[in-house]
Symmetry: C2
Subunit: 310 residues, 2 copies
């Protein structure tokens, strides 16, 4: 296991007075696979969906579930709730699919004042930029699970309430990272020009360069393939040039608008749980088919799992 010994040697060189993440401790071949770890997880390691913070987007091809992150983008979350309750996206469409980047949806006529769909009552056309939050927002109350692995983009990474996050103690900020499946609010040039009407999801390599440049509002829990496998748009930046190419959105509702018995009965693994820590380790230290154990993961390496309520 020569490479792991060398990783330990490097560990000493990387420590600093800033208590930067240390390389992961000496590897041992994990005793359990991911499936075994999940099967053995206690019920208390799972949480129910929050009906006030989960969107159900209905397409002809099936349903997409999106969880909002009000801890990180409270104004956008509130506006998105108002938009959903007002039926704003019903009949709108997927406007853009750019390979190795994003799928984006909203009002195809959103830039045309004459044709743009009006916002429902309670939804604001203008919101503050919510690119990051004070770092104490991811303190103990958020159950922040720090990753020990070095990340080239940020001094700290980890998970809070099911979301991948990064933080910089020196600027005192924390933010959601643009991992695969994360949903953000499209904006124009002005930092406060997003209002949650135009949303996108990452469908390729995590564009971490967008972190701290745009408001990330949540993540896709289920139905990702309905957005990632769409035909790529042939106009610039993956926009569709013909209206008939756009996948129609039938309806977007908050789960809270559905009678409880109709809401998808899904659970999400708590990222502050021992099960999640074990799952990360199972990805970090590999055996079996793997002949080289990476001894490393990054904040976008692993997706927080969901399961049907048992």
């Amino acid at each position: 296991m020569k490479h792991l010994t060398l990783a330990l040697a490097t560990a000493g060189l990387l420590s600093s007075a800033l208590a930067a993440p240390k390389p992961a401790p000496k590897a041992t071949t994990p005793k359990k696979s991911a499936q075994e770890i999940l099967a053995a997880s206690p019920a208390s390691d799972w949480r129910a969906l929050d009906p006030e913070n989960t969107l159900l987007m209905e397409l002809a091809s099936g349903n997409v579930l999106i969880e909002l992150a009000p801890r990180f983008a409270p104004a956008h979350a509130a506006n998105i709730r108002a938009l959903a309750r007002g039926g704003y996206w019903n009949g709108l469409a997927v406007v853009r699919v750019q390979d190795n980047f994003v799928t984006q949806w909203g009002d195809p006529d959103g830039d045309d004042a004459a044709k743009a769909r009006p916002l429902p009552a309670g939804a604001s056309p203008k919101l503050p930029a919510e690119f990051s939050v004070p770092i104490d927002r991811i303190g103990k109350s958020a159950g922040f699970t720090k990753l020990p692995d070095v990340d080239g983009w940020a001094p700290r990474t980890g998970f809070a309430e099911g979301f991948p996050v990064a933080a910089d103690p020196r600027t005192g900020q924390a933010w959601l990272t643009h991992c695969y499946g994360m949903v953000g609010a499209g904006r124009g040039d002005a930092v406060d020009s997003s209002n949650g009407t135009e949303l996108y999801v990452v469908i390729g390599q995590a564009p971490r360069g967008l972190d701290l440049n745009i408001t990330v509002v949540g993540r896709v829990l289920k139905g990702m393939e309905l957005l990632s496998a769409l035909p790529r748009g042939s106009a610039a930046m993956g926009f569709y040039d013909k209206p008939e190419q756009r996948t129609a959105i039938q309806r977007v509702r908050l789960l809270a608008e559905l009678p409880p018995e109709e809401r998808p009965a899904l659970q999400v693994l708590k990222t502050e749980s021992a099960t999640w820590t074990q799952l990360l380790d199972a990805r970090r230290y590999r055996g079996g088919w793997f002949v080289h154990s990476p001894g490393h993961i990054d904040v976008c390496s692993a997706t927080v799992p969901t399961r049907p309520m048992p």
Copy 2:
């Protein structure tokens, strides 16, 4: 630009006797956009396709071009040439599409000795594992362009001959990284159980944990969307459970098999060129719409561009 000053402060803490990559130098807003940089590139910064190392895969939806990397996987490259010349993949299919992971193609009956398609003359059923090469393979002759950015997965990253690579001076090895669009050779449990008949391409977040565990043979130059936008398979690991779900491969040929005037007239940017260095900088230091310049990229952040021969 407080965050950039802090990045410089960190730079001193990260230097080591091992000459680890240093954080990028002080940012300046780039004067040119990527499009401007490409438009200003000299002809000598571009190279033609090598007909002996480029595959043309024809699907009903269009064509995919794949460039092989014989510097890193010479035995697999040679076998793939023999397979292509023997028409091996003609009439085979895409067997698996797993969201945020890979699209894979080959012989759907490959595991059934009775039904498996025989290999053409000149193609071997068994090849050595080519998970990495000696690090001197990416020395000056390969025009290795080192990235100064810290990478959590490997001590060194950069580009060689148009491919993203990582290296470890302490183990003396270099390898191709599993970035989006990179193509690898599927294998079983034995390290020498790949022969290039079963190929996969990365269609999601770079699974860098696969680096050093499997032979990477090349990358998709064009037509990626024809592989990334396919419906995801509903069986385990994204395999298709019904034959009719599999996208058929009409034909795979080496460009060398086509008359020169029929070969796609495409050029690839040389990664040892000044243009590529400028493009990387344009991604590393952002202005305009960006309010936070990342000051960082990673080896999978940017795709080496192609263009029609002018």
